[in-house]
């Protein structure tokens, strides 16, 4: 199976009393579920989109997702949520978003790939430069400076 998109949702118990401690914990994503998903997704080389249930992520969830993204270089988008006044909005986490952006641009795949041709590097640099994506260029140069072709200087005697 070559999954590119995986969305999961489940309904939590309805709770009218939103102020109680139980209802607060119910609105947070069970980190065990995130761990299970992260472990399943970590090795995938086809999945590009992961959508989690619209419940607020705990700090532990963020940590698990970041750990997963340290290894996965193909996932480009994760939908996760924050709860504000009983409504859920797309959440943002700087570290997660940075890693996803580098996956989108292909910088992390390029860094880890063996036998990268000079042509591929040049194409990547040109594309990223054209798109003003300096973050990806910086990541590439910082992580693997040797990928850039060295200029051949001809010595004349």
């Amino acid at each position: 199976m070559y999954l590119e998109c995986f969305r999961i949702d489940y309904k939590l118990q309805d709770n009218d009393d939103t102020d109680s401690a139980d209802s607060k914990s119910d609105s947070l994503l069970d980190h065990r579920i995130v761990v299970a998903i992260a472990e399943a997704v970590e090795q995938s080389r086809t999945l590009k989109l992961l959508s989690l249930p619209p419940f607020s992520c705990t700090e532990l969830c963020y940590e698990k997702l970041i750990n997963m993204l340290q290894r996965n270089t193909t996932l480009e988008r994760i939908d996760y949520w924050v709860r504000i006044c009983n409504l859920y909005y797309p959440d943002a986490n700087e570290k997660i978003d940075d890693l996803l952006h580098l996956n989108q641009s292909g910088a992390r795949r390029l860094v880890r790939q063996d036998n990268v041709s000079a042509r591929e590097i040049l194409q990547f640099v040109t594309d990223r430069n054209r798109n003003d994506d300096l973050d990806s260029l910086y990541h590439l140069l910082l992580s693997r400076p040797s990928v850039l072709p060295t200029p051949q200087i001809e010595r004349r005697h």
Binding site: Y2, L3, C5, K11, T46
Partner: protein
């Protein structure tokens, strides 16, 4: 990401499936063989459709029209419970109208037996979308017959079920729709371990699945966790 471990595991899951309805005689609505123009075996139908897909696929991609399916459904200003409109839908299904590639059931169905017979005879529908109201009006047994017919559509590539999608798991496992790419099952109740096993087995036998959307309902965190690990 997921791999088929063995056919025994699949057969195990199939035999252990239990949603409280017992065994169903799936031949009851099997009209495909009895139709004069479609009197061929299921195997030959499947292989023919697969070969046709493989031959046409590149052309479709080149032309950029692979995703551009025409839309003919119950949603086009009419209701599934309107006998006149359903007549048109079943006629399109029975005649294998090549432009009729999307079936959307969004209202209670007037004549379920006739619709199931028409679906069983069809070889053109690629996308199926079933709304809550369409299944709510059916008995549990008719839901299973309908699910069985839909999952046996030889050209099925996209399936979206908004409610009671559990009833589609066993037919998916049984028919293994080869071309299915997008699967969305909402409000799945997998609170029993055997259902979890069947769901996982069904997902494993869909080789071309690229998009999976599952929504669990009536299932606690532990049940969801059991389905994921």
């Amino acid at each position: 990401m997921l791999e088929v471990k063995s056919m025994d595991a699949i057969l195990d899951a199939r035999s252990s499936w239990d949603d409280g309805m017992g065994t169903v005689d799936y031949e009851r609505y099997d009209s495909r063989a009895s139709l004069d123009n479609n009197c061929v075996s299921d195997d030959s139908l499947r292989s023919r459709s697969v070969n046709r897909y493989e031959n046409d696929r590149d052309d479709l991609f080149d032309a950029g029209v692979d995703e551009d399916y025409s839309v003919h459904s119950c949603k086009s200003g009419a209701s599934c419970c309107n006998p006149r409109f359903m007549e048109e839908v079943t006629a399109n299904l029975l005649t294998n109208n090549p432009e009729f590639s999307r079936l959307e059931l969004e209202d209670s169905i007037e004549d379920i037996s006739r619709l199931i017979q028409a679906i069983k005879a069809n070889m053109t529908v690629r996308e199926v979308e079933i709304h809550i109201e369409a299944l709510e009006g059916l008995s549990r047994i008719d839901q299973r017959y309908l699910a069985d017919a839909i999952c046996n559509l030889p050209e099925l590539r996209s399936l979206l079920v908004y409610k009671n999608s559990l009833v589609f798991v066993e037919p998916l496992l049984r028919h293994q729709p080869f071309l299915l790419e997008q699967l969305r099952l909402c409000k799945l109740d997998i609170s029993e371990p055997s259902r979890v096993k069947s769901l996982v087995s069904a997902l494993r036998v869909l080789p071309n699945l690229t998009s999976l959307d599952v929504g669990f309902d009536g299932t606690d965190s532990d049940g969801v966790l059991a389905a994921l690990v």
